[in-house]
């Protein structure tokens, strides 16, 4: 394991709360399935959250489609290392598109928390920051402490270019907080919040 494992890591619920604290109506958040969805629900429900209960590996690409469709809004994908590793090609796809209004944030705890704490590839030395940089994402942040988290939260309020952040997260799993799980309801409330009619022929 890397030396990073010896440092104190950020607690996930506090980290998520810091990122979405005082959010405005122009911020749309797509968490990954599992822990980051529970974290986002715990931070307070919001019609502009599109919780995922599946689609592993798809969070960043859902965020890209949304960011391209809504250039006047800001989109934050906040997912786990396991979910991001499954869809790592999205770094390349997003690196080519360079949406100005999009951030991909990975809560990297180095384990698959939902399935029994099996080590992920990041614990095995894979560096998501290096991968994001190599895919052409210009702003890549290594968030390890409260100050880094505060800086990231500030940047989320005024995105101006594709951003990636790896947030080193403590592997401890707090109790689950479960949001709505009907996908049709979740879809419709995001669209309604954006002023899109149900089934609109846009």
């Amino acid at each position: 394991m890397s030396s990073a494992s010896l440092e104190p890591r950020l607690e996930r619920r506090a980290a998520m709360a810091a990122l979405v604290a005082g959010r405005d109506d122009d911020l749309l958040v797509v968490p990954g399935l599992g822990s980051t969805t529970w974290d986002l629900a715990a931070a307070g429900d919001n019609d502009r959250n599109f919780y995922l209960w599946g689609a592993m590996g798809g969070a960043a690409m859902i965020g890209l489609g949304l960011a391209l469709a809504q250039p006047q809004k800001r989109v934050a994908v906040i997912t786990g290392d396991g979910e991001m590793l499954m869809g790592m090609g999205a770094f390349a796809t997003i690196g080519v598109q360079q949406p100005k209004n999009m951030a991909v944030i990975v809560f990297d705890n180095g384990v698959y928390g939902e399935t029994g704490m099996q080590p992920s590839a990041t614990q095995g030395g894979v560096d998501l920051l290096a991968i994001a940089r190599g895919c052409g994402i210009a702003t890549c942040l290594d968030v390890r402490d409260e100050a880094g988290l505060a800086d990231l939260a500030g940047r989320l309020k005024v995105l101006d270019g594709t951003l990636f952040a790896r947030v080193l997260i403590d592997p401890a799993e707090p109790p689950r907080v479960l949001p709505e799980r009907d996908g049709v309801v979740l879809k419709r409330r995001v669209r309604a919040a954006l002023g899109l009619a149900d089934g609109a022929k846009v």
């Binding site: 209960w53 689609a55 890209l64 469709a69 796809t93 669209r191 846009v202």
Partner: protein, 176 residues
Amino acid sequence: MNAPVNAQAWPDRLYDVFKRARIRQVAYVPDAGHARLIERCRADPDIRDIVLTTEEEGVALAAGAWLGGDRSALLMQSSGLGNCVNMFSLMRSCRFPLLMLITMRGEWEEFNPWQQPMGSIVDDVLKLCEAEVYRVREPGEVEGAAERAVQQAFGNERIAAVVLSQQLIGKKVWTK
């Protein structure tokens, strides 16, 4: 729709359908059969063309696009369908529209036997995933099939696939 259509013109008819349907995002893993359509979309400032590393990225992208009010299309070769299957759960769980245009390999004058295993199960896989399937064998059928798929996808929030037979696309030339 019944008038004879130039065999080279059908990709342009697909582009026309995209424009009438106000498709704004076109994602693809390239296939030779889609080369002309991709070229048309890349040249259009009102269409965002998105090259993917793997086809399931395009399924997730289509979900995000619709969340944000954009209509999208996903272009792939038949081998790419197999990469999408789990991500279709997202579309079915949330009833997201998904318009796919799939060019066939492995079914007609195919030189490469490795294309056959996935090519042979395309229609069955699509049906298992509750997609509406529009099979096209003749150039004159392309436009109408695509129109119906657009209606099914965006009107009814379903997965709709236009499957373009290899017979329509022609034999891949292996000697240069």
